[in-house]
Subunit: 165 residues, 2 copies
DNA sequence: AGCAATTTAGTTGTGCACAATTAAATTGCG
DNA sequence: CGCAATTTAATTGTGCACAACTAAATTGCT
């Protein structure tokens, strides 16, 4: 009575959605972790984890930034970034210093070593692209869909937050 | 010389890939976390985290399974599942017992309470679908693309593992 | 039977994600 | 100015992901 798979050969029963459901978000989750596995291998040489690599990308592109801005680029808060940045600092890739203009904010910048690491990272995107086995156009479209999805979900999370029905 | 953004207004320089790169996998990562936020809200009522919900989906669909099989369905290993299942057991949703036939394996099954929880989960997929703002067809196609991507990445990870150039 | 290789869970340690809280500096308003 | 509200990082605590390792049972081979 409890865990019978419930054949239901003709009508799409309500329970079927629990299977479909798994596939929608689980596919995303699995793809994200599969990427993680490939990045882990490629980034090992550089001594970076994938989230650390994302931070380095932001710094390589924008130069010195306050923690807040780094978090906005990556959709991460200080609870994640503070320890991560501390590890990058310990590794000698990043400098952190309180802003003189606003003592609340901490400016994050690259050390020479951190800036130099960019050269060794240049081959990563091509190798990742090769691992996906997809052409640039497909990747672009997939990215667009995912960004739309993220925007819709963030929107929904906002209206869900209080007591909105 | 170090952190200059490097304008390069006409030629697609090698460094541009470091931006594109961010967008490929970061979009995926961001979408996955955005889903996590929506699920977190919806599953709070049920007292489940998203990974715990995935485990419950597997058990609702397949009934009693060894830990190994649960892991195969979800692409997770015992390092993740053992503590997670222990929490579900503490919550009274799941039973764990050593198989008599093979003392190495642990069978995971639903308690009555765990089986009953399924009823309250039936509304989740619909509410998630609503939050995505996408129709079923788009979701299906996206899922197919992601699954292909995951397969390609897993494939690549395998040939990358030893010393394959 | 005897023993090495394999399989299955669990444990340990590192790092990330995120909610909740804290502390300090800044801003805004009367 | 004086003080409440806001902003910014950091900290704390929970849970997940995964690599590396351990322990125990099973399988396979001779």
């Amino acid at each position: 009575m409890t865990a019978t798979p419930a054949p239901s050969p003709e009508a799409p029963a309500a329970g079927d959605f629990l299977r479909l459901d798994e596939q929608i978000c689980f596919s995303l989750n699995a793809a994200s972790r599969a990427f993680g596995g490939v990045y882990r291998v490629l980034l090992k040489d550089l001594g970076l984890t994938y989230p650390q690599y994302l931070v380095m990308l932001v710094l390589w592109e924008h130069g010195e930034l306050p923690v807040k801005k780094v978090g906005e680029h990556l959709r991460l808060d200080s609870g994640t970034l503070s320890p991560l940045l501390k590890r990058l600092e310990t590794a000698g890739l990043v400098r952190r210093e309180r802003s003189a203009r606003d003592e609340r904010s901490v400016q994050v910048g690259l050390t020479e070593e951190g800036a130099a690491l960019r050269e060794r990272a240049l081959s990563v995107p091509r190798r990742i692209a090769a691992a996906t086995g997809a052409d640039l156009e497909e990747i672009r479209e997939l990215r667009a869909r995912l960004d739309r999805l993220t925007a819709a979900l963030d929107e929904a999370a906002l209206s869900e937050a209080p007591g909105c029905t």
